[in-house]
Each structure stands twice: as C-alpha cells, then as structure tokens.
Symmetry: C2
Subunit: 200 residues, 2 copies
Amino acid sequence: MGSKKDDRRVRYTKMVLKDSFITLLEKKDISKISIKEICEDADINRATFYAHYNDQYDFMNQIQNELLKNIEKHLSAFVQNDLPIVLADMVEQIFGYVKENARICKLLLSERGDLNFQKRVFMLVYEKIINNIARDGAISKADAEYIHAFTLTGCIGVIQKWLNDDMKKSPRFMAETIMKLTTVYQDLYRSSFKEGHESR
Amino acid sequence: MGSKKDDRRVRYTKMVLKDSFITLLEKKDISKISIKEICEDADINRATFYAHYNDQYDFMNQIQNELLKNIEKHLSAFVQNDLPIVLADMVEQIFGYVKENARICKLLLSERGDLNFQKRVFMLVYEKIINNIARDGAISKADAEYIHAFTLTGCIGVIQKWLNDDMKKSPRFMAETIMKLTTVYQDLYRSSFKEGHESR
DNA sequence: TCTTTATCAAACAGGGTGTTGATAAGTCAA
DNA sequence: TTGACTTATCAACACCCTGTTTGATAAAGA
C-alpha cells in the first residue's frame, strides 16, 4: 500500500512490474494479460508479484490509487485561496499532471478506459473546484467541439443516477429531463456564439 | 452473431447461458467469472460455449450488440416525423426499453458498468434525436439533482476528446474550457430555476 | 558488523482452458 | 410420418496458468 517507507528493492520491483504492465496494457486488454506474462517481461519472480498484489486487477487498482493521491496533492497546493483565477491554474495543474503521466492516463481515461477511475478523478476535481466556482463571463467559441463531448457524456451521468435511484422516476420524466438538459444547453450554446460559426 | 436463423437447440443454449451469465454478473465482476462457472450454472457443456463465444468478454459484447440493435429498432419506429413532441416520445421509448431490460441494463449502465457501451448507446440517441432538437422552453427545477450528474460526467467526455486528439490543446486551454463549460452551465442553472417546484 | 527481510528457484496441487471425435437432436424433403 | 442429411451438444483429453509453500541467498538498513 504505502510506497514511501518501501525498501529500495521493493521500489525497484514495483517500478519494473508497473512498466511491464503498462507496456502490456498498451498492447492488449487487462483480461488477456497473465501474471506470468508480466513477471517474465519484468524479470521478476512470480512469487514476488504475489507478495505485493493479488492479481492484475488489484495491481491496476493500486496504480490508480497512486495516481489519485498525486492528483489530490496537486490540488491541495492551491487550497489556500479561492479566487477564480487561481482556480483556473488549479485545473491547469491537473491537466499538466495528466500530460506528464500520459502513458498510463491515456490507458485509463481514453475510450476503453476505466469509467470508475474517471468518476473518481472528477469527483475529486468537482468537489474541490467546480462547486465553488464563480461566474466569469461568456464561453469562447473555440470550445465548440468540446461542447458535444460534454453534453454527450453528461447524459451518461443522468442515466446512472436514474439507475442508482432504482428508476423511481418514470421514463417519461427521464425523457423530458434529458430533452431539457440538452436543449437548454444548446440554447445557451447558440446564444453564446453568435459569430456565425457552425459545428458538425 | 445472427439469432433469427438459430437452431432450436442453439436458442435454448444461448438463453440459459445468458441467464446464468447475468446472474453471475450481479454477484461479481466479469473478470472473476470463469467459463466453467457459467456452463455449470447453465448445465451446458463448456465446448458448447466455445462453439458460440470466444470468452466472457466476447459473450458480453454479443449481449451488448443485441441490446443496441433493439434500441435502434425502437428508435427507427419514430423516424418519420421530426416534431419535438414526438422526439420526446422517442426518448421515452428508450427509457422504457431500458426499464424492460433493467437487469442487464443496470449492469451495463450503472456505476461499475461499461463505459464503451454507454457511449455507443448515447451516440445512437444523440445522432438520431438530440442533434435536430428544437428549443421548447425553460428547464424545470425538479431536474436539479440530475444537472450535477450531467455536468460531472460531461467533463469525462471532454477529457476523452482531449486524449483522443493526442493532447494537442494545451493544459491551459483545457483548464479554461472545463471552467467555462461548468460555469456557463451553472449560470444557466441559476437563471433558469427561480420558481419553487418539487417532484418525486 | 549484525539483524532483518525481500527476492528467488523449485515444486506442488488444483483448476481453468481450448480442442478432439463420438453421439444425439434438429431440419427438411418426400 | 418416415428417412436421410446436417449440425449442435457432449465427455474426455492434454496443456498451461494460478496461487502457495519451501528454504537458500543476498541486499538493505541501522
């Protein structure tokens, strides 16, 4: 679990195992990766692997926890003042950290990534930053292409909430909710960009 | 792949296998489910499983494809006219279908669900419906709790797009984009709900 | 230097995997 | 319905990966 008080040997073992694991993850799905495979690539005994992790998925979990811990660390460095301008720097820091660890982050956050990890990241960011955000003006037209991605995946969250609430709301209500959410957002979109641009 | 021209035996085999698979999926993660386990529960020979599917994940894929095909069928029944009111019925249909197949849908769409499947569903809905949506009024305040889910997961899509574009945009730009997307939406949220309604 | 402990090779039972040829069930035409 | 043809299902097989244990070795830390 901890990594600070780790032996020098342990640090090496975990490092090469992680490197081999990521290399394999870039080639194929985690379900197709065997412990034996990881250890052979890293030149580490299989028993040593089991001394640290239960299986591939536990290994993946620990990698994710380490990432989240570091992201939180980056966030905490800005907690002192809540000014909007500083908040922007804060989010920038996160993206910077993701870029630094692009190899693993791309695996976790991209198309075939881990939804649960993504939610954990955004819960972190959301609660710390976006909650106490201040309005600071109109949206820039350059962001147009991101609005689609935003609204699209935003719908996923609505569905998940619905399912988690055991579908108490009627399908009709959900239909209207989705409609309004997307319509209102696109209305906003239209009223914010009146330069004469089109998207898609 | 096809299911219409299947043998009577094949239909039975696939049915009981699917049922056992879903039952197991409700208990534990797909990575912890063995082919042997599925077949024993379904009382089907393992070789028979391999005659139809490569592994658990291929099995899951075929189940998802079947779901998507049916959802698309539900959508196609409404393609004739594009009126907003009818579009609402259309989305309602989807939610209705999801509710009918709640057992598997809850597995696929909920917290620990499959992000790729979710995106496929919403790509389907988005392109067919939300693209040519018409503004029809202000949002109801009853949807408030869904707005958070919406904005939260909406951010995921932005990140994914960024990663898929090989992070061409600078972290700074991304920071500002996220900030504006969420800020603008919350501004809208504030200005749209000034009544005092509740629903449940 | 001395103590601690992580890594290793080897070996093990156990279980899951993927493929074989034989058997039984389904399909369709007469 | 019968019979012939087709094909899905099955039991059994050899193989590989897993997860754990052993005691020996050597590297780390104090």
